[in-house]
């Protein structure tokens, strides 16, 4: 019924009316205190003295806490230890939390937090990946993945190239900043409202920090105002600070970060430095490739291990790399610890190989799409990833061919060449890039989910599961799955807040896996309940249980039909439980993390995009003229929701690669810490002509109802924008040179790349000044 239908988001009407409640909108309990955090002004220093007398004496202040006030363990590290809740003896980035204050008003708290007298003894600070590489400063041991004999293959290859690409990070810029509200309950228990993708982890961290057992802590989230990975593990710190202050004051405490504090305190997408060397033949086929992926992790390991692993796993994107070496350094710097962000390292790995392909094409003077085609995964033996997983039923050749046709790629490339001949001051460029993205957490144990379903005696249903809603439409999708299972209209299923008290021991809602995992768990619960109900109906009407059917809001048993609600009441009368849990674990993951070999992914999601841009040769400004996206959602559970993910992901990815620039000053302070200076795409940045389609090929997805995960993969469709810009820059030099363009491709980087080409003697437009 509702499955595979383009139904609206469950909260759409409430979003538009303003009735949807986020944590800061909840009624405030009496006695509520507001918190603020005192941040380090230095990137690396010993805390010689932290004088908080003026903070404590400030208007409205009730409580000030430092590391010394933590009853449990001062660490909120997620995948790895090393993230102090509050810095104790040493700070390792500018913006790190040193103390927290609770006061009667938000303004009192924030003002008080600025009154600390901190004496820093500065220590040497490494601020960039280059600094860290030079000092061999890493948060985790380096890893290497090898397939074939890359060194020999490159040496033997008819053509060789090497180069470097720097990728900036990205702030999540969820519209709702980090927030948590902690409410002390009787018996030393705590109720926590947290804007988190991972309520279970919040409860674990609060448990660790306060030395409280997990069953005394309840964590709940109805919805987040955006998250994108930024609230996967970072929400814990916010919740723990609120909880710590609540613990000491015995009063409810809300911590809502000011936008600027949020942006300096919390981690971002990992920036990367990528060095490559590649050997290839006359057609552009890669014979051997050597990558060095240096991830900008910041001061602690945090989630950097799995993020960098995923970068390695995606350095092939859709291409067979017969001989490849992928070396990954996890660089430690004195900057904020970087974290999960939509794609989780995958986009950075994919940019590495796409850059290489673009370089090869420009070197050979061949169309980059042609070079992509000769490198796509194919039949055995050209179907094995560098980590040893087989790529089965790869749709990319057919999918990109279709996209090339529907977007008129070849014709437009000719038109662009003609345009560029006529226009010395405006240049156009185009690119077609594919996406292949592995679905599953690479930490195998996270691929599990639980759900809880109740049927009430009026035939309505209560649905709870471990997945959290951050805008991606997870809750409506899972409700569709459950409604479909019971053959009930969607309205009968009540979507509830996610709570550790309803479903325990959950995984983060992340890795695009939310609907695959939680949908399957909820379905399992529904199937359990159906079986119980069917037995009751079978006994009642004297038919075998196998002949009981749920259809159209009713239940048929042989020739008898009974309303779903009636059957629920019948079950109740027969004392049959109408409440069930469901559980799911992704099957078939056979992955050896020590060797980095095996099948870390359940399946791959695919897509491709063509972008056309135009750049201003004199200023470096650009705009996206047109983008055509073709994405594989399998059999979409909800095409309206999935389209939103595709479009939103693309625009967010385009932001990462174009205008979103994180800029640190020489003292290691992030200076782009608000929307005034950090520029995410605005409305006018959407391509003038924007065409989005679903790949209609047969779905081989092994996941629930043959749908495919769609949260992250479309972000990488935006690689097309970056390479279209690169194409336009190359046009200023008649495509005779390979531009050096790093990301984000701000107008500045574009102009300086043009100028560098001009300095190299290749500029088409007379009068372009070299830098």
């Amino acid at each position: 019924m509702s499955l595979h239908e383009p139904l609206p988001h469950d909260s759409a009407a409430r979003h538009a009316s303003g009735e949807a409640l986020y944590i800061d909108d909840l009624p405030e309990p009496r006695d509520l205190l507001h918190a603020a955090i005192g941040l380090s002004a230095r990137p690396h220093a010993r805390l010689a003295a932290v004088d908080l007398a003026a903070v404590a004496a400030a208007r409205g202040v009730v409580c000030v806490v430092t590391a010394a006030d933590i009853p449990g363990v001062n660490d909120v590290g997620s995948a790895a230890h090393g993230d102090p809740l509050l810095a104790a003896a040493e700070v390792e980035y500018a913006g790190q939390a040193i103390f927290a204050v609770a006061a009667e008003t938000v303004r009192d708290a924030r003002r008080a937090a600025r009154r600390a007298q901190v004496t820093y003894h500065d220590l040497p600070a490494l601020l960039t990946v280059d600094d860290a590489l030079a000092a061999r400063s890493f948060v985790l041991p380096s890893k290497t993945l090898v397939q074939g004999e890359p060194g020999a293959a490159i040496a033997r290859a008819p053509h060789r190239l090497s180069g470097r690409l720097d990728l900036g990070g990205q702030d999540h810029f969820y519209l709702e900043g980090q927030i948590a509200m902690a409410l002390p309950q009787e018996g030393g228990e705590l109720k926590i409202y947290s804007s988190t993708q991972h309520p279970t982890e919040v409860s674990h961290m609060v448990s660790r920090v306060l030395a409280l057992p997990c069953h005394r802590i309840g964590v709940e989230v109805r919805r987040m105002g955006g998250a994108f990975g930024g609230k996967e593990s970072q929400a814990s710190q916010i919740a723990c600070i609120a909880a710590l202050l609540a613990h000491h004051t015995r009063r409810p405490v809300k911590l809502r970060l000011d936008r600027d504090d949020d942006m300096v305190l919390t981690g971002k997408r990992h920036g990367f430095r990528i060095d490559y060397e590649v050997g290839f033949d006359d057609t552009g086929r890669i014979l051997g490739v050597d990558f060095l992926l240096a991830g900008h992790c910041g001061f602690s390991p945090h989630l950097s291990g799995p993020v960098n692993d995923r970068a390695m796993f995606h350095a092939d994107n859709g291409y067979f790399l017969e001989n490849a070496r992928i070396v990954s350094h996890r660089c430690k710097t004195h900057t904020v610890s970087n974290t999960a962000f939509r794609g989780f390292g995958g986009p950075q790995g994919m940019m590495a190989i796409e850059q290489v392909i673009d370089e090869i094409s420009r070197h050979l003077g061949r169309d980059p799409y042609a070079v992509r085609r000769v490198n796509f995964y194919g039949k055995a033996p050209r179907n094995r990833t560098p980590y040893g997983m087989e790529v089965r039923a790869n749709p990319l050749p057919a999918l990109t061919a279709r996209l090339a046709r529907t977007s008129a790629y070849a014709r437009r490339r000719r038109e662009i060449a003609a345009f560029n001949r006529e226009n010395p001051w405006i240049k156009r460029g185009i690119a077609l890039t594919p996406v292949k993205f592995g679905i599953s957490f690479t930490l195998t144990q996270m691929n599990q989910a639980g759900a809880l379903v109740h049927v009430y005696t009026d035939g309505t249903i209560h649905l709870a599961h471990g997945g959290t809603e951050m805008g991606q439409g997870l809750l409506v999708k899972v409700a569709q799955v459950v409604a479909n299972e019971f053959a009930l209209p969607l309205e009968r299923v009540r979507i509830t807040a996610t709570s550790t008290e309803q479903v325990p021991n959950t995984s983060a809602t992340a890795a695009s896996s939310g609907s695959d995992l939680n949908g399957a768990a909820a379905r399992a619960a529904a199937i359990t309940l159906k079986a119980r109900m069917a037995r009751v109906a079978a006994a009642e009407f004297g038919v075998p249980a196998g002949e009981v059917r749920f259809a159209n809001g009713a239940v048929r048993a042989g020739n008898h039909t009974i309303g779903f609600d009636e059957l629920a009441r019948l079950c109740h009368r027969h004392r049959v439980s109408l409440s069930a849990t469901g559980f799911y674990r992704t099957p078939g993951l056979a992955y050896d993390p020590a060797a980095m070999r095996g099948e870390p992914f359940f399946y791959f999601a695919y897509g491709a995009a063509v972008a056309e841009v135009e750049i201003d040769v004199l200023s470096g400004e650009y705009r996206i003229l047109r983008a055509d996206l073709l994405h594989d959602c399998g059999r979409s559970l909800n095409p309206a929701i999935d389209r939103g993910q595709i479009e939103g992901g693309f625009v967010q990815g385009a932001g990462w690669l174009t205008t979103e620039e994180l800029w640190w000053d020489a003292q290691g302070s992030l200076r782009t810490h608000a929307p005034s200076t950090y520029k995410i795409p605005a409305c006018s940045d959407l391509p003038r002509d924007f065409r989005v389609a679903f790949w209609a090929g047969r779905s081989h997805a092994p996941a629930l109802h043959r749908a495919k995960a769609v949260g992250e993969p479309p972000l990488m469709l935006a690689m097309s924008v970056f390479f279209a810009i690169r194409d336009a820059i190359a046009a200023t030099a008649h495509h005779r040179a390979r531009p050096r363009l790093d990301a984000p491709a701000t107008p500045e980087r574009v102009l300086l790349a043009i100028a560098a080409l001009a300095a190299g003697g290749g500029a088409a437009a007379a009068g372009v000044v070299a830098a």
């Binding site: 538009a16 519209l175 135009e614």
Partner: protein
């Protein structure tokens, strides 16, 4: 003197005493009224999540404009109507056409930005402009959405404009007008609380007297700079003198040779007049902030704020604009070029304020061009801004004014460039001389918006762009701008 602020919240009359005279509208709505539909995404006017509508009686009708509640002070609501997202649905609960369209087009994901978009679009629909992509982009430039990528919101904008349903916001218009009339302030607002003051004089003489009495007071025009001092720097200004209620200070007058713009005229009011004479200046203003910002902000605030990257000053400098300053009854007039003493320093004397800005109309044959370079095209602060007023006679440059922003400690004219081109033939040789003069004139700094190298290169390239667009031997039919009006 009134000590309380009286206004309409929706259709309900409110009279509030402000314990904190610079409390924001957003804080008031969310805390006192428990209207939590209006969100805070940044508290600095950049994200639009806090968008509300301000209604004022204009020419016998209600005029609604979107503003950012996060940087608007509740004290400035005096005598106005405030609408938040909770006011949009009809009395019987029927959603506003914009709300319906947002749902139908799947235009929300996390929903946090949605009320702000709804309000911005409600104002857009009410204004009745054709919903072209360019108009929608402009109406929404001040609203950030991180989830949707905007496509469905643009479609919702179109759908809402196409919806023939009458606008519920007009349903009560005459009653609203009557109510507003009834609570129109008859005396000046003067809030004095714990030694802090918020004064809103109603005449220029009163304003002048207060400025002399409180020479250290913060003068408040649109508050788009002052607001940030309160929300971001956490300042509690001891004394604010608000200009907004002063009668006649928002006047925009045209004479045969000049346009005179009062200190409280908003960009939204001034832009159409300026654009008529200087289309490029109009476009430059269109790119200042967003609709919400321009509905509050003023040219005067931009000038006195004295930021080296203020956008209007390069244009005003190139056009030889003049300022009329007042202190008590003493009025003086000076060229803008003489107004800045150094980084964020002006010649304004204690107790003196800016009353009007005088802009000459274009001289015959004068060509005006303005260019703003920023990381993001819409709603961004300039890395470099340049404006040129050029007059050519028989192929020679007979008049040349150039103003630059982002290249020095203050917005600056470039006399050396002017000297290099005046009287010369407008050709490559002159352009080269201008370029050399440019390089000698500026040593721009690096910061988060751009490096000095970019500013220098791009700034110099703008001279070439001007040349291409104006010289007889310019670009011919080849295009020089990427940003043509969108379809």
């Amino acid at each position: 003197m009134g000590a309380t602020v009286r206004f309409l919240l929706g259709e309900a009359e409110r009279e509030i005493a402000l314990a904190d005279p610079t409390r924001t509208v957003l804080d008031y709505l969310r805390t006192d009224e428990r209207r939590t539909g209006t969100k805070e995404g940044c508290a600095e006017g950049d994200c639009g999540a806090c968008t509300v509508l301000l209604g004022e009686a204009r020419d016998g009708a209600m005029r609604y404009r979107a503003v950012n509640a996060c940087i608007a002070f509740a004290a400035t609501l005096d005598g106005k109507q405030l609408l938040s997202v909770e006011d949009l649905a009809a009395a019987d609960g029927t959603p506003h056409p914009v709300q319906r369209a947002m749902v139908a087009q799947h235009a929300s994901q996390c929903g946090f930005c949605t009320p702000g978009f709804v309000m911005a679009l409600a104002a857009f629909r009410l204004a009745g402009a054709a919903p072209t992509r360019a108009a929608i982009d402009d109406a929404l430039a001040g609203n950030l959405c991180r989830c949707t990528g905007y496509r469905p919101i643009i479609d919702a904008a179109r759908a809402a404009c196409a919806d023939p349903a009458p606008d519920p916001l007009r349903a009560n218009e005459s009653a609203t007008l009557a109510r507003l009339q009834a609570l129109a302030p008859r005396t000046s607002l003067a809030i004095v609380r714990d030694g802090r003051r918020f004064l809103a004089p109603r005449s220029i003489a009163e304003l002048a007297a207060l400025c002399e009495e409180f020479p250290e007071a913060t003068r408040l025009a649109g508050g788009t700079d002052v607001g940030l001092a309160v929300t971001k720097a956490l300042q509690d200004p001891a004394c604010v003198i608000a200009l907004g209620a002063v009668c006649g200070l928002d006047a925009i007058e045209e004479s045969a040779h000049t346009i005179t713009i009062g200190a409280t005229a908003t960009y939204s009011d001034a832009a159409p007049v300026i654009a008529r004479h200087y289309p490029d200046f109009g476009e430059l203003i269109r790119r200042i902030g967003s609709v919400q910002v321009r509905n509050a902000a003023t040219l005067g605030g931009n000038i006195v704020n004295a930021s080296p990257i203020g956008d209007t000053m390069p244009a005003l400098l190139a056009l030889d604009a003049r300022l009329i300053l007042r202190r008590g009854s003493a009025v003086r007039e000076l060229p803008l070029a003489g107004f800045y003493r150094g980084y964020r320093e002006t010649v304004l004397a204690p107790g003196e304020f800016l009353e009007r800005v005088v802009l000459p109309k274009p001289a015959p044959g004068q060509i005006f061009r303005a260019y703003k370079l920023s990381k993001r095209f819409d709603q961004d602060i300039s890395a470099v801004c340049a404006a040129f007023a050029l007059t050519l006679e028989a192929g020679r440059v007979s008049g040349f004014g150039a103003g630059f922003g982002g290249l020095a400690a203050t917005p600056a004219r470039a006399p050396a460039i002017e000297a290099a081109v005046l009287g010369r033939r407008w050709d490559e040789a002159t352009l080269a001389a201008a370029g050399e003069a440019f390089d000698a004139s500026f040593t721009p700094l690096s910061d988060m918006r751009a490096s000095g190298a970019y500013r220098r290169l791009a700034g110099r390239n703008l001279l070439r762009k001007l040349y291409l667009e104006t010289a007889p031997s310019g670009s011919g039919r080849a295009r020089t701008r990427i940003l043509e009006p969108a379809p």
